[in-house]
Structures are given as structure tokens and as C-alpha cells.
Point group: C2
Chain length 108, copies 2
């Protein structure tokens, strides 16, 4: 039986008191996640310092990533970039006035 179809835009809540993370695919070497943000920054303190590489795409909204090196990258609709494992970074801003929809592909 072929896998079921699902939709990326399903189950987007009207209110987002906190960021929402949903796994779309979990396989041995890869994990695909939808992330919804609305004004949040993350992590709460310090930096993401991940064992996996992360390819991340913003499909709606706007956000800023800050690297531990000080570099800031703004991401808007369609922007993507690759964050190598252990490159310390944080989500330093997301638009408070609209939902930011991220697609993140974590891989080793």
C-alpha cells in the first residue's frame, strides 16, 4: 500500500502560545519536521548545538537566525540554508504578526 498523503498546512492553530514542532517523516538517517513560530525565539537560553546537520526552509512568515559567530541571517518566504552539525545558532526573532512556517530536514 502506498504511503498516505498528508498536507503541510493542516492543523495550523489560530493561536500559538509556544512554538509547535511536528515530525512529518522519521527515518534512519533523516527527520523532516514542520515548525510553527509566532514571535517566539529559541532555544530559551543559549544556543542550539546539534549532532545532526539541518537544512531549513521558511515557507511563510519571517525569521532571523543568529550564529554564535555574531552573524545574523534574515529568512523570508522561500529562503533556505544549511546549518552544519555543531554550528551554534539560535532563532533570535520570528515575526509576531504572522505565523512563520519552517520545514526542517535533519540529517547525518
Amino acid at each position: 500500500m502506498p504511503e498516505q498523503r498528508a498536507n503541510l498546512y493542516d492543523a495550523i492553530p489560530a493561536e500559538l502560545p509556544q512554538e509547535m514542532f511536528s515530525d512529518l517523516l522519521t527515518a534512519g538517517s533523516v527527520r523532516i519536521e514542520r515548525i510553527l513560530s509566532r514571535g517566539q525565539t529559541s532555544p530559551a537560553s543559549g544556543w542550539y548545538d546539534q549532532d545532526e546537520h539541518e537544512w531549513v526552509l521558511v515557507l511563510e512568515g519571517a525569521a532571523e537566525l543568529t550564529y554564535a559567530s555574531g552573524e545574523v541571517v534574515r529568512l523570508e518566504r522561500g529562503d533556505y540554508l544549511n546549518i552544519p552539525a555543531h554550528r551554534r545558532h539560535r532563532v533570535s526573532w520570528t515575526d509576531p504578526d504572522q505565523t512563520t512556517l519552517w520545514l526542517a530536514v535533519f540529517y547525518r
Copy 2:
């Protein structure tokens, strides 16, 4: 140096005499590709029969996948599904009146 940002919607040609495939990320275990279609079906004959699994998402436009089992799945904006390796399938229809933008994650 952090990786450069790029945009998924860049370099979309006005005319698409054939499907257009662009690698967005190539890593050991994963490859992320943008595919643009406008009325094409593929492959030209027979079936895709891939060594890699493929997670595929339609971001714009509309398409139909047909599996060798006979099952047909229509995909529109936001629809995604996972095609296991060696599950024979083909793109049996894409909308001739608009560009269909696919994001495909191939993985092992």
C-alpha cells in the same frame, strides 16, 4: 562561515519546455531537489524504480502520481507523501496551466 542563504522561488523560468531539476542540497545520506513541471509527465516511459526513498511535497500547482499497483494519488499545494525505495511510480499528470513546484528529499 555560515552557509549562504538561497531562495526556493529564484530562477523559475517563464517557459518550461521540459521538467527542470535543481539540487538544493547534496550530502552523504540525503539529497534535496527542486522540481518544476508544467504539463510534463515522467519518466518518458515505464516507471521510476529508485534505490533511494523519496519524500515529496508539492508547494505550488497540481500533479498526479500513479503507482504500478494502479493507485492514483492527486497532489496539490502542501500535499506530501513518502515513496519507499523501489515502489514503482510515475508522474502521470501535472497541471499544464501553471507551474508545479515540488520539493523532493531523497534519502537512504
